[in-house]
């Protein structure tokens, strides 16, 4: 059995411990906000935080998260429903088109801004590798800058 925390709550999984965390979240814990896109860590739709760092859950065996703390898109807003500044920025800039990749984009951005609180466009180009098939990159870039402002203002 693998035990871990998801969005501050205890969780465990008793099946095949090589199962990717993605499918444990989606099929077993019914947290479907984390998306399946490629299964090989290329697209980032499955991005979650493991102990605060963005990871691609489709290539992370659940065995690797024993005792660790996972945050998914469902756990990003505060418990009173107040959105994370990155989510707020995404709404303000109206980023999503189909929206399928956006949970992963947001999770990647939260971690990215933790290490790059005031990123340049070049930093974004180097640090953001998630795919968006709709091509929302223009607005993602704007929203990352806006989220940096919102985060800076909150501090």
């Amino acid at each position: 059995m693998v035990s871990f925390k998801v969005n501050s709550e205890s969780a465990s999984f008793t099946g095949d411990s090589s199962t990717p965390l993605l499918w444990v979240l989606r099929d077993h814990l019914r947290l479907t906000g984390t998306k399946f896109g490629c299964g090989i860590g290329q697209c980032g739709a499955c991005t979650v935080h493991i102990d605060g760092r963005a990871q691609r859950s489709c290539i992370t065996p659940v065995a690797a998260v024993e005792g660790r703390s996972i945050t998914t898109i469902e756990g990003l807003a505060s418990s009173d429903g107040e959105l994370h500044p990155v989510q707020q920025a995404w709404l303000e800039i109206d980023v999503p088109q189909c929206g399928y990749c956006q949970a992963g984009q947001i999770m990647a951005t939260v971690d990215f801004l933790n290490t790059n609180p005031k990123p340049s466009d070049q930093d974004i180009d180097n640090g953001m590798t998630n795919l968006c098939r709709c091509g929302t990159y223009v607005r993602i870039r704007q929203a990352i800058h806006r989220a940096a402002e919102l985060t800076g203002a909150a501090k």
């Binding site: 099946g15 095949d16 199962t19 990717p20 499918w23 989606r26 099929d27 077993h28 019914r30 947290l31 479907t32 906000g33 984390t34 998306k35 399946f36 896109g37 490629c38 299964g39 090989i40 290329q42 697209c43 739709a45 998914t72 898109i73 469902e74 990003l76 807003a77 959105l83 989510q87 995404w90 709404l91 109206d94 980023v95 999503p96 088109q97 189909c98 929206g99 399928y100 990749c101 956006q102 949970a103 947001i106 466009d121 974004i124 180009d125 180097n126 953001m128 590798t129 998630n130 795919l131 968006c132 098939r133 709709c134 091509g135 929302t136 990159y137 223009v138 607005r139 993602i140 870039r141």
Partner: protein, 757 residues
Amino acid sequence: MSAVVNKSTSGSIDHSRRRFLIAGSSVAGGFVLGIPAFSLTGIADDSETERQIGFFVEITASGDVIIGTNQPEIGQGVRTALPMLVAEELDVEWSKVSVKPMPLGLVKTADGYTWKYGVQGVGGSTGLTGNWEYMRQVGATARRQLIRAAAQQWGVAEDSCYTRPGVVVCDSPSRQLAYGEVAEAAALLDMPEEAPPLKAISEYRIVGQRKNTIDARDIVTGKAKYGVDTQYPDMRYAVIARSPYLNGTVKSFDDTAARQVEGVLDVFKIEGPELGAPYIILAHGVAVVATSTWAAIKGREALQVEWNPGPNAKDNIDSFWQQNNDMLEGEGQVVVDDGEFTEAMSSAEKTITRRYKIPFVSHAPLEPQNCFAYVQQDRCHIVAPTQGPSGASRSAAAVTGIEREHIHVEVSRVGGGFGRRLTNDYVAEAAMISKQTGWPIKLQWTREDDIRNDFYRPAGLHEMQIGLDADNKPVAWTQRLASASKYYRRPNMPDENLWQPELYSDDFPRRIIDNFRLEYFHNTIGLPRGSWRAPAHTANAFVIQSFLDEIAHETGQDILQLQLDLLGGERELEYGNHGGPTFNPGRLAKLIKFVAERIDHKRERPKGRGVGLATHCTFGGYAAHAFEVTVSDSGELQIERIVAAIDCGLAVHPNAVEAQLQGGTVDGISTALGLEITVKDGQIQQSNFHDYPLMRIAGVPSLFESHILPYDDVPTGVGEMGIPSAAPALTNAIFAACGVRIRSLPIGNQLRDAMTA
């Protein structure tokens, strides 16, 4: 889905059900008459506080407005745009509006199936334009019912009442009722015979304003439900091992190891389509059903299948291109032949001839295909991410034998369409598996399944030729295309029509260059083909806009001036293809001039830096691009700046118009830079994003402008207009920067190879 009874029987139904039944019949009849779907009340829940006016509008006692959306949301913004039309005419505050997706509303009548909620399906950029009248009528009719109900309650004449947002008002005597107070009475009124007059566009205060995606909060919090997120009690999970060979079949399989995988419940063969027959599903294969997605995937990995490679086992992309090349040496099917083409071309002072190659590409929507299906004896429940819910019902009916009125289709939010989900092969597969097992099934495709099993954008080799007179004015024009038609394996499709989806006969420069000829050569290859965002426009815009740039260069003309001379002023030319009935080349002229001036195209750039222009009309909408790029001595390409502009007539939902222009441009660049599907020994060679590399954010320049140029009060679609002119603007800029002409897509390593040769 509730049943609907014919109007003639409704009078005999007991009172508690009567309103609904009348409603149903009114709607079925109403649509035929062009009157909005409108019922007295359409909900089984007889709650006193919430009343539904028509199928689309629900108003709560507190004045919240819930608007139904009948079209699949694939990212084009239709789930926000259509409610904007309803809310505008209904006269409510946008902040009070939320939306509710509607299932497929198919009604069986004596004359066949008809639509309960209007035609449902999105493709060809018609989601908005096809509902432009209808949704406004829905809103206007609901507003009129509210006014009537208030007037009756007050005992005043209807025409002494009017509305302010969310309120019915009467001035004499002065009084008012909030919509929430009068909605219940309004829902009980008879439906009007015809729709009331619509607002003047000058009075709009929602349509044309910047409104954010109405359900974006669900997306950014992970609550939005896509097909892939469907859950159902006792649901099982399925994957299919499909033939890796185009048109291959299952020779035999050994499921011993697969069945030993924990969670695997069943393994069985899936019959694919007959060779050459229309596709209901894409491939022969073996299904694995399990208690979880991962168990099904692991079970498939353990499965041993021996395949019959089938008749296409020798298909190779290189021989396909060679065949196209050879075909162009001969004579093809002349499908358009205006003026005195042969004479004009042969007597031209000068001719320029070029060939361009457009590859096969895959749709690769980020949500891999999936479908929930639950087939029970005489009914079936489908939840699918689809662009065509009616087609989903047809697909499920075809493989289950269940009548379509007993197939309930729910449309989830769709994780990207791009034309892939106009076909419902994955729905048919899921229904087959559920029928076979009796279980509720969620079929999941992996990315590899998706890249290798697609209705690919057709590939083709285009030969362009222009004849010029002594003043370099065009006297004759021809486009000769050897390609694999999209209409391959379509039902009842004669060979002589195969050219139609590949050469849009009325596209520019037809009717501008009088001596004009289109010639087609149909090549064969085993890949399934289908509609890929802006279908043949992506190919033809690239080819024509590249060729014009070459002509300008060859004849020493400024490309903008050449374009403006050809396009000319505003006038409506006949246009019989989708997006017609007319085409106004002056709208393109205005756009290309705008983007050219905006990027200052006349300014001399240093060596290694250049600007490219292109413009194209796609399904009735107009767009243009200007790109500025640098190419280093070693062939490294950098896009420095993009100016994109669209003329979509009235921009109903400007945020989405801009988003589609941005996204289409990115799609155009991404596809031109690196995307190609190839075949070797009858097998697709690409499998996932490592070898089908969609562009990442680093490919998009910081300097990216999108402009919406106003034109008139009639909206065009916007979902496909942003893509076609992007690639040629990029490659024209590359030529301006470094002198390398890209005539073969994708660009790939061509720049590096040319610059370092």
